[in-house]
């Protein structure tokens, strides 16, 4: 339902203010995009505007300079690994908390809620030392485990709040037909939950793709670094080559922009659900 608490003629000043803020949000990203397709020589005269001549060669240049074939693959591995592992554990837990109600489920819920609010700085150092002992530093598996744990509480609650609305009759009927709990999970709960699986997957993937602190700390070997920390070192390496820098940044933004256009509602509702579900 749309609240129209203004008369129509009042909408014009509304638009005026809103456009100003929309420009503040979007223009800086647009400048980055312009710079990514601008010849390096043009930066002195035209630092902010659209390029007079489009130079797409910046992208292959940045791709080669940053060895992005390898780096892109690193990030893809981290994203898919974390999405799969995190979804697997969260779906199981979300299903249990929604439909099986284990004894002491409130204890688990409280534990996970506290887990969300613990600042990463409390545990990052002991975790680092533990990962060192287990030889998990500079491995993607190590980081995938961390990312799955970081995102699991959020994903569990999101999945739980979805599954709790699935009609109980379906599960009762399957139970009468002699299905065991695992069959009910795989054959009934999972197929019905694809919308929330998609939403949770997108949010986890986005978080992993953008993550900085743990990637910075746990992967120091440049061969294993993901896009985020490579872009950070790229900024220092090519400090004054803004064409190259911007092209590298756009390569990090592009997949998100495309997915955002396809799944805006899922991203927005998923990312803000944590702020509203309480």
């Amino acid at each position: 339902m749309l609240v129209s608490n203004f008369r129509r003629k009042e909408a014009i000043p509304n638009h005026f203010i809103l456009i100003l803020f929309a420009l503040l949000a979007v223009l800086p990203i647009l400048v980055l995009f312009f710079n990514s397709i601008k010849p390096f020589s043009e930066f002195g005269l035209n630092p902010l505007g659209p390029p007079s001549e489009i130079r797409l060669q910046n992208f292959p240049d940045a791709w080669i300079a940053g060895e992005y074939t390898k780096i892109f693959f690193n990030s893809a591995k981290l994203v898919f690994g974390s999405v799969i592992l995190c979804l697997a554990v969260s779906l199981l837990a979300g299903f249990s908390l929604a439909k099986l109600n284990p004894k002491g489920s409130t204890v688990i819920a409280i534990y996970l809620l506290v887990g969300i609010s613990i600042p990463a700085q409390l545990y990052i150092l002991p975790l680092f030392l533990l990962w060192k002992e287990l030889s998990l530093l500079n491995t993607h598996v190590g980081l995938i485990i961390i990312y799955s744990a970081l995102n699991a509480p959020f994903a569990t609650f999101l999945i739980r709040s979805y599954m709790i609305r699935l009609p109980d009759e379906l599960f009762d009927a399957a139970k009468l037909d002699g299905a065991n709990t695992f069959q009910i999970f795989f054959r009934i709960a999972l197929p019905l939950s694809w919308p929330v699986i998609l939403t949770a997957g997108l949010i986890i993937g986005l978080a992993v793709w953008n993550e900085f602190l743990f990637a910075l700390t746990f992967i120091t070997d440049p061969n294993f670094k993901p896009m985020a920390t490579i872009l950070f070192s790229f900024q220092a390496r090519f400090e004054n080559n803004y064409a190259l820098q911007s092209a590298a940044a756009i390569m990090m933004v592009a997949p998100i922009a495309i997915l955002f256009m396809l799944f805006q509602r899922r991203f927005i509702s998923g990312l803000t659900s944590g702020g509203l579900k309480e």
Binding site: V3, N5, I17, K103, Q121, L130
Partner: protein, 291 residues
């Protein structure tokens, strides 16, 4: 309900993986940290119990005090500037019909981008030669003629600005969700009474979205504690500790100087503070506040 199985241990099988992985990565290391803060460990060799010495040293450490002060400033900035702008934009958005979705996407998009990317954008825009520096100089804003990230007086505010720029769209969406739940009849009644736009906002919208509003304040306070990316990437805490925040201070002690005990003490204080804040909001709710 428990209708699926009489044996509740099956329900537990489903929860074990998530609990295990979470304990392994977050739970146990957190407990370790809470224990290590009472030692002088350097990451290698013997662990000596030193009691509260780390904390005593911390309260004497002027850089730590500076970092805490900066975190408080950061919290205050985020509790005011993005909150006011987001409230205003969300309220204005409820008054328009066309272009709703466009504005929402535009406001929200920066929230989706990585901190490294956002920092790069603004480092460039604030660059004295290539970015807006020359423009600011020509219109007489000398303060922005040099990069605000490398100037002592402005570094903290500049980093907070970039983080806020990326964050406020999130608040718009949250507030908007709350505002759509407000009963339209209230506004119609106010219209009949001849209430102004601002009066309607003050006496209808704000009270009606109070639960979401208070909750947003709580997450801002909590999220202002571990602030790291934007400070580390944009200023590194400098120049001369002028933008040092607690998380960056901890990071330096943990991974540059390997003061395990000292860093754990900082982490412990951060944790206690966050739990304290969550506890206060929980208590207020128990006392009958509508949060």
């Amino acid at each position: 309900m428990n209708f699926l199985s009489k044996k509740s241990y099956i329900a537990w099988y489903f929860v074990i993986p998530v609990v295990f992985i979470h304990l392994f990565v977050i739970g146990i290391p957190s407990i370790l940290s809470l224990a290590l803060c009472l030692t002088d460990w350097s990451g290698l060799g013997k662990i000596n119990y030193v009691g509260f010495e780390n904390f005593i040293e911390l309260f004497d450490d002027r850089y730590f005090k500076k970092a805490i002060f900066h975190n408080i400033l950061w919290t205050i900035i985020f509790l005011t500037v993005p909150v006011c702008i987001a409230l205003m934009c969300a309220y204005l958005l409820t008054g328009i019909k066309r272009g709703q979705m466009f504005y929402r996407l535009a406001f929200f998009f920066p929230y989706m981008l990585a901190s490294v990317v956002n920092c790069q954008i603004w480092k460039y825009l604030f660059h004295p030669i290539h970015g807006l520096g020359g423009f600011f100089e020509s219109i007489g804003i000398e303060a922005l003629a040099s990069s605000p990230f490398t100037t002592k007086e402005t570094s903290l505010y500049a980093a907070a600005f970039v983080d806020g720029w990326h964050f406020w769209g999130f608040l718009v969406v949250i507030y908007l969700t709350g505002m759509y739940q407000v009963d339209n009849h209230l506004y119609e009644a106010a219209d009949i009474e001849g209430a102004s736009k601002f009066q309607k906002f003050r006496y209808i919208t704000l009270p009606m979205i109070r639960p979401i509003f208070i909750f947003s304040l709580m997450i801002i306070i909590i999220w202002s504690v571990p602030v790291f990316d934007y400070v580390y990437i944009l200023t590194g805490g400098g120049p001369a500790y002028s933008s040092e925040v607690v998380a960056n201070y901890l990071y330096t002690h943990a991974f540059v100087r390997f003061n395990v005990g000292y860093a754990s003490a900082v982490g412990t204080l951060m944790f206690i503070y966050v739990i304290f804040i969550v506890g206060i909001f929980g208590l207020l709710r128990k006392l009958g506040w509508e949060i």
